[in-house]
């Protein structure tokens, strides 16, 4: 079971080996992640998906990557050259760095050196991920800004607003985990999820689940939402809403390896948030329940496999969501982030903290706090609920009124709507069908 003390003793060459392995792993994960996504989503849509390059189309992404490398490297004439070139770098590098604190497994012997299967760990490891996510935002802003194109600027601004909004909800959803774990170090958080502890109700002793995803369901659900928002994935992929913004902030990165880098950064970010969700909520590299009965499951190199399986499952979830859900509207997206996730999160944090304080101190102060939180939350909820209800009704009425005035008066700007009781609506028209194009 590694803890913070196990880190910082690696010789440099071990660090280099681990860094190279993680780097190669991520590059391959991007290549095959794209393939998996396309294959999976096409299966969900009753298509074949890529199946030309290599067996099962496995080499499709490799071919795409090569093709991008061989395309003309366009730098539009109006762009701010330096920022335009730097932006993809700022996007990519932090995404990779975030992976350095994701634990893949316990301490193993690597070329005779005892070392944990994790590049490094910090007392503030999770903060590093958040910091890197914030740095990545600069890449988005600068890419949009440097492009000097309306689509790119709008896309960049939207993307930034979205990412920073969801970053808050994401950061808040971790707090409950830290309350339980008492540390920000990822390896120790994984360790804390090892034993579930027990709950005593009378004489009954019930073993508690150990994953924070189950112990702290609200936090986990919020995290799942924010992880979709943070990575600009469906249903929150508005920055790339091709119907309105072409390709968002990377409109002007039309071909070549710069676009490949941006694409890669997006996928690496998906793997980062997936890896983080596994580490913080899904037990990390530790084997899930039936497998964990086998003693060797959490030792040696096996945990790599469990981690990888979990990663594939979480990534599969991303794809599944993409296949299943439509894109939301931008105001809905921001409303969800600011008006639902943040207040919910804060109230949930306070509730968790109060119950945790109740375990050590059953004094009146804690109960008062509990009462304040519950009553305050309920009051706010009902206030806004009724306010929203009233607003919705007023809005519906207004629309109804508009509709009525406009329906009768095309001159006022209403649509010339044909009367709703025309005979052909009811299948009684007699004329023969007119083929298209004959006019």
């Amino acid at each position: 079971m590694p803890s913070l003390n196990d880190f910082g003793h690696d010789p440099l060459w071990i660090s280099i080996i681990k860094a190279v392995v993680i780097f190669v792993f991520l590059v391959l994960a991007v290549l095959f992640g794209v393939w998996t996504e396309r294959k999976l989503i096409s299966r969900m849509q009753h298509r074949y998906g890529p199946n030309r390059a290599g067996k099962f189309g496995l080499l499709q992404s490799v071919a795409d990557g090569l093709k991008m490398g061989l395309k003309e490297d366009l730098t539009p004439s109006g762009v701010d050259k330096v920022l335009y070139l730097v932006a993809p770098l700022i996007l990519v590098v932090p995404a990779f760095i975030s992976y350095s604190i994701i634990p893949f497994g316990p301490v193993v012997s690597m070329f005779g050196v005892k070392t944990p299967l994790q590049l490094t760990d910090l007392p503030v490891a999770v903060l590093l991920v958040l910091a890197m996510a914030s740095l990545g935002v600069y890449g988005i802003v600068l890419a949009g800004w440097a492009s000097r194109s309306p689509y790119a600027i709008l896309g960049g601004l939207r993307s930034t607003a979205q990412v920073i909004s969801y970053e808050i909800a994401m950061g808040l959803s971790f707090v409950a985990v830290f309350l339980y774990a008492g540390t920000l170090s990822t390896s120790e958080i994984v360790a804390k999820q090892a034993g579930g502890g027990t709950l005593d109700i009378g004489s009954l002793t019930i073993p508690m689940p150990s994953w924070y995803a189950i112990q702290l369901i609200p936090s986990f659900l919020i995290y799942v939402l924010t992880m979709l928002g943070e990575t600009n994935r469906v249903p929150f992929d508005l920055p790339e809403g091709e119907g309105e913004l072409v390709a968002g902030f990377h409109t002007e990165y039309s071909s070549s390896l710069k676009f490949a880098l941006i694409m890669m950064a997006e996928y690496v970010n998906v793997f980062v948030v997936s890896g983080l969700s596994i580490t913080l909520f899904l037990g990390g590299w530790r084997a899930p329940w039936p497998i964990s009965l086998w003693d060797g499951a959490n030792h040696g190199w096996w945990p790599l496999l469990w981690f990888f399986i979990k990663l594939v499952i979480v990534f599969g979830f991303f794809v599944w969501v993409r296949a299943a859900l439509p894109r939301v509207r931008y105001d809905q997206l921001m409303a969800l982030g600011w008006k639902v996730l943040i207040p919910l999160n804060l109230v949930w944090i306070l509730l968790v903290a109060t119950f945790r304080a109740l375990r050590v101190d059953k004094g009146p102060v804690v109960f008062t706090m509990l009462a304040i939180i519950v009553i305050g939350a309920l009051a706010v909820y009902f206030y806004f609920d009724t306010a929203n209800q009233r607003r919705r009704e007023a809005r519906a009425q207004e629309i109804q009124q508009d509709f009525e005035t406009l329906a009768d008066a095309p001159a006022l700007g209403g649509f010339p709507v044909p009367p709703l009781d025309l005979p052909h609506y009811h299948g009684v028209h007699s004329s023969k069908e007119v083929t298209s194009g004959s006019n």
Partner: protein
């Protein structure tokens, strides 16, 4: 400090890869100059002239950015509090309830003044 060295290694690796990709791109592809190709893409219409140094952008985004700072700082206060919560006990709880309520006052103000609405 040793804890941070591996991060540096990975950063150098990633940065090297990225710089290499950006740097090699002009040499691997063909070069066929065409004025229209170098214009900003606006679905085929004449590109809108963009002011040098960037133009004005909707104030909404700045409000969002400022709110982000407020809440981000709140998060930064919450993390150490959460980590040491068991040591702080009731005192920590009371203080944090007060702090969050104070932030929520500003949040309620912004909400009521429609600072969170997008149209």
């Amino acid at each position: 400090m040793e804890l941070y060295v591996p991060i540096l290694v990975l950063a150098v690796l990633a940065a090297g890869f990225a710089v290499f990709s950006v740097g090699i791109a002009p040499f691997t592809g063909p070069k066929r100059w065409n004025r229209a190709k170098l214009d900003a893409y606006e679905c085929g219409i004449e590109p809108t002239p963009q002011p040098i140094g960037g133009g004005r952008f909707p104030l909404k985004y700045m409000i969002t950015a400022m709110l982000f700072i407020v809440f981000d700082i709140e998060i930064i206060f919450l993390y150490p509090w959460a980590v040491t919560f068991d040591k702080l006990g009731v005192f920590g709880l009371v203080e944090m309830v007060l702090f969050i309520v104070t932030v929520l006052v500003a949040y309620a103000y912004v909400w009521r003044r429609r600072g969170l609405d997008w149209d």
